[in-house]
Amino acid sequence: MPRILKGIAASPGIAIAPAFLLAPRATSAGEAAAASPELEWERYARAVAASKAELQALRDKTKAELGDLKAEIFDAHLSILKDPDLDAAVSRNVREEGMAAGAALEAAAKVFIDLLSEVEGQLFAARIDDIRDLCSRILSHLAGGPGSGRLELEGEAVVAAQDLTPSETTQFDRRLVKAFVTASGSASSHSSILARSMEIPAVVGLGPLEGAFERGSLLIVDGGEGLVIADPDAEQLASYRRAQADRARAKAAALRFASLATRTRDGTAIELAANIAGAADLDSALRNGAEGIGLFRTEFLYMDRPSLPSEEEQYATYREVLERMAPRPVVIRTLDIGGDKGVECLELDKESNPFLGVRAIRLCFAREDIFRTQLRALLRAASAGQLRIMFPMIATLEEFRAARGILEEERRGLEAGGTEVPAGIEIGLMIEIPAAATMADQLAREADFFSVGTNDLVQYSMAADRMNPKLAYLNRPLHPAILRVLGSVAEAAAKRGRWVGICGEMAADPLALPLLVGMGLRELSMSAAAIPRAREIVAGIDCGEARRLYERARDLETADEVRDLSRASAST
């Protein structure tokens, strides 16, 4: 019997493949111990040796494919594996207490975990996850299975999990993963963003997956509609296979637009830019014809690593991105961390409400050393291309001035040391806090540009956590309330001759595009894969008509009405 599950559409596309359920971590429950403590100790030693070989192989593979930094996590696991204190504790538990190996390991690890949880600071707390991760690998070997089977796919599959961390997502074989489906999460959680940049379908926020399907059940994932169909019937399969083929054809057709300049029907130039998380995303940006980078999320340089990225490392990355995109502009957003994005190389305090806490520019003010390192790397790289620097989470003019002041200090410092920094670097800010949107006219006097981060602007305007699937009904960028905010920002900036872009997920919504152009936005930044289609849609827009459409939409009452209006106008 086919079963239809409804979730949140996180990344568009259709996938048809068997389910791969991310197994829960192994435990010592039901373990079969050897006949004597000495034999049991040997059993433990074999599991450790197997884990070691596996970790070394994983480290080497990761080093070759993703670089030294991503591989560091496995080095950390290897050094815990050979820890003499852990070894002594397990040995004592097995040889003197007569415990089974798995239970002995869990008991020994618990001592360290308890000690670590008393240490303040997230960085140390994150090590607890490393210990657990390593233990489950050893436990899995004790149980006779491969230790990393959790993430290793045997063939093409739809990966199903409670949730996926960015580091887990990067460990999958990209050729085999056809889609992600998760029980929790939202369209703007990191695994969703990664799925879009990997151009694979994803549905999140499905609710409990237990009992819905099994490993190997055939799944249809409709990422555009947020649907998952388990064990589909022949009719559903045929219809989705047709839709899949249609999509592939439409994509190929839209790709013809990849190499064209973006113009509206009446000839207005619109810059379609790509959102990237690192230099690795440039191929896709260039292939899809990005006319710039509208958002370089630099926080990914800080994530999934035990130490902060150095100035030299950042300089090399920024330089590469600027060089490869030149002469096209590149908006690099300074560190935007906090909230949902925990970072192990930074000890962030636990906050009861991280989205309203010390994050992004606020964190940079608290940790000026980190901020200054990034700014120096940016300024030094600036000569390689057309750099635009953007500060995130600015609430007030004072904050923008303070950030700019620090930037100018670093510029003077570099120049005093003989480093030439080009003039004409545009300095702008993200509009994502309602207070900044309200004060846009004043901010526009001092900022060179604005880029609206709609994901956060919507969440802060609606006071609705975007990670909470139960509040998805408030996460509506097309609501007239949001359109009014966007429109007033665009108007305030236009009065001062500043340009306004948009770098939220809204920029890629075909129904939002005419409204955004209509309110006067001229830079739209989105996942690279969405660019050709957006270019095709923009080519059909008349600026005058779009303006009138926006003015009508702004006066409607509900998000559904806006959607209907935009849909009706698109089909005429």
């Binding site: 950390a76 050094s79 815990i80 820890d83 204190d85 240490v119 960085l123 130490s307 000890e347």
Partner: protein, 73 residues
């Protein structure tokens, strides 16, 4: 026994990588020695990365390292 005091200069404290560096040095350079790290009233085995981490050494902390045994200098 050789002993010395250190003040931690790493802004993010003594987390995995620096801890691993010390532990690797202790194991590689002083295989036959006992290496102890003292902070406040706690003493841990300088050859144990987990022990090092549980010390929770932060930026600006002062720790004492003691090496005793063959090849201690």
């Amino acid at each position: 026994m050789v002993s010395d005091q250190f003040t931690i200069k790493n802004p993010t404290g003594f987390h995995t990588r620096p801890a691993r560096l010390l532990v690797d040095t202790a194991n590689d350079k002083y295989p036959a020695c006992e290496v102890k790290v003292l902070k406040g009233d706690r003493v841990i085995n300088g050859k144990s990365v987990l022990g090092m981490l549980t010390l929770g050494v932060k930026f600006g902390d002062v720790v004492t390292v003691e090496v005793s045994g063959e090849g201690e200098a």
